[in-house]
């Protein structure tokens, strides 16, 4: 009898100490190896990539029965070893939802409703094992692609309806066609792994968990477009991803999958470039400058990178998931891929779930899957058991989807229609108590700081947008400010140089569209005072309250009876312990 333990060694699980769990496991099994051999049990421990349910990490899957263990701690290791020796399931480590335990990973609702295609090898194979990669359909796609001629490869890609997964959703086949048609002795292919959206980490996960798949997609791209040199641009904040991809490149080079005359058809090699972590470097012209060693800031287009890219040579830039999708397309066929999706875009959607959800992490569903399936069936609804009020989708440049629209299909066009966007696929769930305005303020702060500062609308405009939002949050604004907010958002959107500035007002516009009541409450509604846990019970506020709305025993936390409160703010003024907040 042989058990294989797949332990997640990707960044999220590492952050909750999965490596310590793994070490302890190895140590204990070694200590008790006599017992194992007496019972004829063989145990193999594999460090795999991201298993996906990051919010409940560290994760482990026990093969051959595919049992999922969650929230592992070093102290749980003994239980695991005992369970293995007794061929039993460690009940207390199983995944639970609504008091029901699930043994098999595929029965767990989080996985049951997913369609894992791009992620099919993530958390399954050892990321840097070329043998395992090939055993799990690796390089099938490349081989199929090399049987076609480059034009046919591009046609196949167009047929698959693959659209760029970086956010803009431009048809990948067309992009490749432009590069193929560009006349130049040198052409470059770039993989954009400068994932910067707060709350998005699927590119990192793919690079860490299935690096060969990304490179295979690039190889197909090299063959189709005629590029001989490639770059993978990874942000420096992703040390593990960058290290994995570098090792993967080395392994492929040693095995003849990178370099001169691969399968006598294509010559291609890749260099990894680490960015310094500027959000704007995900914009393709900024990324090009950064690769050239210059300050990463966007430039006007045209000329597009397909005409003038790195060092002035034609260049094509695609997202990590786009290349991984290419690999899938040539492995399974364009038709298969197209059928996964909707009329206008083929394939699947990879999302990063965060916010107030029972289960958070990376998931993959077919393009066009209703949002509510993701929120309720996969993620299990609100973790705090409150009602969900909205999701922010597509990162800082995306928009909000209110609960009334949770039926919406997850694809480029449906989301665009309501002023949101799929973006790179970050999804943040908000419950009824979360403040939309604070979310807007948070994103504006992020964008204000990440603006490259070149163009006036983005540099100055976003600062002013944030000032207006903050005035509103602090009950310091009137309806004229709301008009100004509208006008300035419109200005920034229509006048900024690059996608970052143009996309910044999205979150404001969609919050105004769906949550104008929250704005109005702040502008014309009363200030709500509440007492926090910092209260020491000095009673001063209660003594000063003109309407006796504050109750509480001395030396205990006090409360404000909102039905009596006249919002005069006296309590806020007299509190010496900063225990009263206004909202």
């Amino acid at each position: 009898m042989k058990y294989t333990l797949r332990i997640c060694g990707a960044t999220a699980c590492r952050a909750s100490d999965s490596l310590a769990v793994m070490d302890k496991l190895k140590q204990l099994i070694e200590e008790r190896k006599q017992e194992f051999s007496d019972k004829g049990i063989d145990v193999e421990i594999k460090e795999v990539g991201c298993i996906g349910l990051c919010g409940k990490g560290p994760l482990m899957v026990v093969e051959p029965c595919s049992i999922l263990y969650t929230n592992l701690k070093v102290k749980d290791v003994e239980t695991i070893v005992d369970s293995l020796l007794n061929h039993r399931v460690a009940e207390n480590l199983l995944y639970k939802r609504d008091n029901q335990s699930f043994e098999k990973i595929n029965d767990v609702p989080y996985y049951k409703y997913q369609d894992r295609f791009l992620l099919r090898r993530c958390g399954v194979i050892e990321p840097l094992s070329l043998r395992e990669y090939i055993e799990n359909d690796g390089f099938k796609g490349l081989k199929r692609a090399l049987e076609l001629n480059p034009e046919e490869v591009i046609n196949e890609l167009l047929k698959s309806k693959l659209r760029g997964r970086g956010g803009a959703g431009f048809p990948t086949g067309l992009k490749w066609k432009f590069l193929r048609q560009a006349q130049s002795d040198v052409k470059f292919l770039v993989c954009n792994a400068d994932e910067g959206d707060p709350g998005a980490f699927m590119d990192r996960s793919l690079l860490e968990s299935d690096p060969f798949a990304v490179i295979e997609g690039m190889l197909i791209g090299a063959y189709a477009t005629g590029a001989k040199k490639g770059f993978i641009y990874v942000r420096e904040e992703y040390p593990l991803a960058s290290q994995r991809i570098k090792q993967a490149i080395k392994i492929l080079r040693e095995n003849g999958y990178l370099g001169e005359n691969i399968f006598n058809k294509v010559s291609f090699d890749i260099k990894v470039v680490e960015g310094a972590g500027a959000f704007v470097c995900g914009e393709e012209t900024a990324l090009i400058k950064s690769i050239e060693g210059k300050r990463g800031q966007p430039r006007v287009r045209p000329p597009y990178p397909a005409e003038r890219g790195i060092l002035g040579k034609p260049t094509n830039i695609n997202n990590v998931k786009t290349y991984a999708s290419v690999t899938l397309i040539f492995e399974k066929g364009a038709e298969f891929f197209a059928n996964l999706g909707t009329e206008n875009s083929g394939g699947t959607v990879v999302l990063c779930l965060s916010g107030d959800l029972e289960d958070t992490g990376i998931i993959e569903v077919k393009m066009g899957t209703p949002l509510k399936t993701v929120l309720y069936d996969i993620a299990g609804g609100s973790r705090s058991k409150k009602e969900l009020k909205a999701v922010q989708i597509g990162g800082p440049l995306g928009g909000l989807v209110p609960k009334e629209l949770f039926d919406i299909a997850l694809d480029y066009d449906s989301l665009k229609e309501i002023g949101s966007m799929l973006g790179s696929g970050g999804l943040i769930a908000l419950n009824q108590d979360d403040s939309i305005l604070k979310l807007v303020s948070f994103f504006l702060d992020f964008l204000r700081l990440e603006s490259c500062g070149q163009c006036t609308p983005c540099r100055e405009g976003v600062v002013q947008l944030k000032k207006i939002i903050d005035r509103i949050i602090n009950h310091n604004a009137n309806y004229e400010d709301l008009d100004l907010l509208n006008k300035l958002s419109d200005y920034v959107k229509n006048n900024s140089l690059c996608g970052l500035g143009q996309g910044t007002p999205n979150v404001i516009e969609s919050s105004l569209r769906f949550f104008i009541n929250e704005y109005e409450q702040k502008i014309s509604g009363p200030v709500i005072y509440t007492i926090t846990d910092a209260c020491i019970g000095c009673h001063v506020c209660a003594m000063n309250c003109p309407v006796q709305a504050i109750e509480g025993q001395p030396k205990e936390k006090h409360f404000i009876d909102q039905s009596k409160c006249i919002h005069c703010g006296k309590c806020f003024e007299v509190c010496k312990f900063n225990a009263i907040t206004k909202d």
Partner: protein
Amino acid sequence: MKVKINGQEYEFDNGLTVLEACRKIGIKIPTFCYHELLEPRAVCRLCVVEVDGKLRTSCSTKLKEGMNIVTNSEKVFDARRTNLQLLIADHKQECLSCNKSTDCKLFEYANEYEIEEIPFEILSNENPTEKQDVDDSSYAFIRDLSKCIKCGKCVQVCSELQTVNALTYAGRGRSVRPSTAYEVPINQTECVFCGQCVINCPTCALEEKSETDEVVSILNDKDYIVAAQIAPSVRVSIGEEFGLPAGEISTGKLITALRMLGFDYVFDTQFGADLTIVEEANELIKRLEGNGKLPMFTSCCPAWVKFVEEFYPEHIENLSSCKSPQQMFGAVFKTYFAKKIGKHPEQLKLVSIMPCIAKKEEARRYEFIEDVDFVLTTRELARLLKSYGIDFAKLKEGSFDSPLGESSGAGTIFGLTGGVCQAALRTVNHLLTNQEKLEFEFSNVSEDGFLREGSVEINGRTIRFAVVQTLGKARKIFDNLDKYDFIEVMACPGGCVGGGGQPIPTNMEIVQKRIKALRKNDEMKSVRLSHLNPSINKLYEEFLEKPLSEKAHKLLHTTYLNRKNNRLSKDFGI
């Protein structure tokens, strides 16, 4: 191709941008970041127009057949107004006391677009970084970031036009600023002080370091005899500051104005230029005979000299050892002239009127320390005249004092690109063949006209020369120095007429007019070869003996410094 602009059909050549087309037919479009010689970056976003219903930056949008362009719609107007309001909210408004407010583009556009109130929060007091706003470490210019509108033009001219890269962007978001590497003071960097950043700055974030107060105080001090020397290109540009058309020759008025300010003597830097040519031509002949390195570089542009010292110190020997006309003049003034009027050099003060801010730094080089006391740019002088209530346009024509006020046509053309080369070749040719040849043809001219090459046969020896404008182009010649015997480089486009101290605006159209005026001035001169200037000959007879004499060497020639990686020189700012 045919396009529609504001409802009317127009026909244009291929390849123009919307901005260029609009300017051609007399439609003014406001810009901050646009520089006519450089690639449009479209970052200030002020030049937006409607192209087929959508807002587009006109500087970066190429004309296309059938385009429908609207420059005066409500949408365009609104966008530009908002842009200006955002900038003004983040701009320190000291317009009443600001030296550049009359030349300030932000001021100008705010008026034109009737900006009455700023609906945004005023941010100009919130310095987003902990860095100092003001850098006044150099003698040439002052940077004040609180007035910077971050158009990035200074960075672009520094890196693309001049390839000096002393200025770059630092920071993100609102903290973005033009900065030196590691934020060191500018005098510790490779900056050559060409001043192209200063003249291109739309606001007063970059400004020459004014010396008007010092000049006024010595003019009022009766203990000193104060003289002025006027650079060639100033006489064809200063009129612009007083409403005269570009390219008007106002030498006479300028002399009168300086006398009204209280200068005791008004002399001509062209005298210094003639002297430079006599020395430099003889030096070139000597080098051609095998005594010294070839090609010989001109050394009259201080920005170019520092450029060689900073980036190509291995070629320092190629630089002519002649001081620039400003410094030669100063040396002669403080010795020969002092003796002539029987004064001690310390009783004499010399103020140069220059089109250039690098001349301020040059005058402070330790090799030259006593030659010139103060340097005023064209702009500073104009300001001074205005504050003295001098109505320049109405002044009578004055004339230079003797003997340092006499000059040849060759001295005049020092102010324009190619002039030094031409003047030197005139003298070399005459000295060797005794023939008067005034023009020397170029056989090869680069597309932008900034690199011109030619050759001339003198006494059986072919002299191959090159004339370069801008330091970016100058870098190119180092690839094949063997091709040349004599190279003239001027850091500014058009030469000194386009210098960093000239009136604002200075653009290629205006520069061409100034060049034309100097050419005309040259033609009007009776003597057009430097060494035939009688005052120069007298100077040699009475004082310097002969060209390249020991005395001439001591007074008129200099040495240079390897500044590459030379921290010491940088720490001392020399």
